[in-house]
């Protein structure tokens, strides 16, 4: 499915000047399995403006939804919001959700990055990793009272 004009207007995609500040800040450079001109936030905006089918946008699945691109954009494009909207058009949900409260969790390749970077040395997969931060705080408090 192609992104509609409404989404592009509402998120200000037409304002993009291709400066690339969003791509420079984007943490996907480390966390995504591949980070390129196309998968960067700027690439997603440009693809959306050209009317690419959402299924051909590889950057959508890896986005962390941190919003650093939206905060830094000098032209005022809400890139993170645009990506969130485009994800809605995908035929299948790209993210797992917290089993307790339904908050979206990290994308799969960011999880892989985490277990590579942080959880090295532990043989079993850590069970807290399947919870969203606020549920994890509650689980930790319950185990330590």
């Amino acid at each position: 499915m192609k992104p509609s004009q409404d989404i592009l207007t509402a998120r200000g995609a037409y304002l993009c000047v291709e400066c690339g500040k969003c791509a420079a800040l984007c943490p996907m450079a480390e966390t995504a399995s591949e980070f390129s001109r196309v998968t960067s936030p700027r690439g997603v905006v440009q693809q959306a403006l050209r009317g690419t089918d959402v299924q051909n946008m590889p950057g959508l699945a890896s986005c962390l939804q941190c919003g650093s691109c939206s905060r830094t954009c000098p032209a005022g494009v809400d890139v993170a919001g645009l990506i969130a909207d485009l994800r809605m058009l995908l035929p299948e949900p790209v993210q797992l959700v917290c089993p307790a409260c339904g908050t979206p969790l990290l994308p799969a390749d960011a999880e892989a990055y985490l277990s590579r970077a942080a959880n090295e040395g532990f043989e079993s997969r850590l069970s807290y990793a399947s919870l969203c931060p606020s549920c994890r705080r509650r689980a930790y408090a319950r185990n330590n009272r």
Binding site: Y128, C135, N143
Partner: protein, 446 residues
């Protein structure tokens, strides 16, 4: 950097030196200890933190969050533990988090892009996300936290994180004295000592004697029961405080590196020592002599290394050979093979002493000093990192009290069976008490 140099990844790393070091070099571990028993959930810590902490430049997003459970009537303050080996630091894609020489984990906001990977990596999710998306994190107010000052109930206390030193002093002295006594003075060794009024004998040696001689000599049983009785009272103190070979291993552990190799998996089974025990008892029955005692490292260290005993050839080679196993894991012999320890382990299982890890002030994943210092390796890191108090199997614990002495938070304790203990926690399941009935909820209730 000159102007002509093109910017490459290498030159960037010169500008921003990599901060992804493992924090293990920092030994001081300041932090705030939270005692859930004293917290009333008043929220003063949140309030002073929002007012700007010690600097007083507020308002800002508080770095501490108080979780209140109205149903259970409990409250819990989630705050950064300033881990010894911080997960967030390793997870940060930009290297914005670093652990200073003072042990405080700080976030460099000029590098941070608020991606939230630190929150995802933290077992407690201690870095907090402000409503505007900014990720904030406690910096201990530079060493004088305002929340600790403000807490009216004393639930928060500041610690510099130092353990006690008199337990190791006592243990090393005790080990040295017993080593000198057993190896130098009584050349006969612990296997059997003839003191003036009573005999002291190795219980496993006596057991072998019974099997080989096929009758029970009551006096030897009584002298064996002395050590067994000591074990029932205080756990395997023989292994940790008296055993001369254990003393040798402890000294060797101080010198040599570990983790150079791993024993094959079937050898790294703690039930092996019971197998060795049964095997040597059977051998004693067949050959009608104490066959294992001739190769027992404890016996050989006593017999062949004393002042007035000759280095007994092949016997003397056993001790360095077995001690070399420590290049793999500390006290490998005691962990997996020692049948004497196995016998003491059976006695300690019904014993009166318990070691409790993870009392209410334990900082679990952020500290794990007990797990790294335990010579028997019985404190599971996997459980600590998930915030669970591990249950210590006393048949494997040698009661050396290293965990007790190293714990800066008073969370590793000696408990006798009649004293109240904290229940060991369950795995944090996905239940948040939503009210719906599911497998997780059942597990959580039980």
């Amino acid at each position: 950097m000159s102007e002509k140099t093109p910017i490459s990844r290498e030159s960037l790393s010169d500008l921003f030196p990599p901060t992804k070091a493992t924090g293990r070099t920092v030994n001081s571990k300041p932090g705030i200890v939270f005692d859930p028993g004293k917290c009333t959930g008043c929220g003063m810590c949140e309030a002073v933190c929002a007012a700007g902490g010690a600097e007083g430049r507020g308002p800002r997003t508080p770095r501490v969050q108080v979780l209140r459970d109205a149903e259970a009537g409990t409250s819990f303050a989630v705050l950064c533990q300033h881990c010894l080996d911080p997960q967030c630091m390793k997870a940060c894609p930009n290297g914005a988090l670093s652990k200073g020489g003072d042990g405080i984990v700080r976030m460099d906001k000029s590098l941070c892009v608020n991606c939230g990977m630190c929150i995802a990596a933290c077992p407690e999710a201690a870095p907090l996300r402000a409503p505007d998306g900014e990720v904030v994190k406690c910096d201990l107010c530079g060493g004088a936290p305002a929340c600790v000052e403000a807490c009216p109930n004393g639930a928060l206390s500041y610690t510099k994180g130092r353990g006690s030193f008199w337990i190791p002093l006592l243990r090393w002295t005790c080990q040295l004295i017993s080593f000198l006594l057993l190896v130098v003075v009584f050349v006969g060794s612990v296997c059997s000592i003839n003191l003036v009024t009573f005999d002291l004998a190795c219980p496993f040696g006596v057991l072998q004697n019974v099997f080989s001689a096929k009758f029970i000599l009551l006096s030897t049983v009584i002298s064996a029961l002395l050590l067994i009785g000591l074990t029932v009272l205080f756990g395997r103190v023989f292994c940790g405080w008296i055993c001369p070979f254990g003393f040798v291993l402890d000294i060797v552990d101080k010198i040599i590196p570990h983790g150079l190799f791993r024993l094959p998996r079937f050898l790294r089974n703690r039930l092996n020592k019971y197998g060795v025990g049964i095997g040597s008892l059977a051998a004693a029955g067949v050959v009608s002599s104490q066959a294992f005692c001739t190769v027992c490292p404890i016996g050989t260290v006593c017999r062949s290394y004393g002042l007035n005993s000759v280095m007994a050839g092949a016997e003397a080679a056993i001790v360095p050979a077995v001690a070399a196993l420590n290049l793999g894991e500390r006290r490998s012999w005691c962990r997996y093979f020692c049948p004497v320890g196995a016998l003491f382990g059976l006695a300690a299982k019904i014993g009166l002493l318990r070691i409790e890890i993870g009392a209410s002030k334990c900082k679990k994943f952020s500290c794990m000093r007990c797990a790294s210092v335990c010579p028997m390796g019985i404190i599971p890191r996997e459980q600590l990192v998930q915030g669970i108090s591990p249950k210590i199997d006393m048949s494997e614990c040698i009661s050396c009290l290293r965990c007790v002495s190293v714990c800066p938070h008073n969370a590793a304790r000696i408990r006798f069976v009649w004293q109240k203990r904290k229940d060991s926690g369950s795995l944090p399941t996905a239940c948040t008490g939503c009210g719906k009935d599911c497998a997780n909820a059942k597990e959580n209730r039980s």
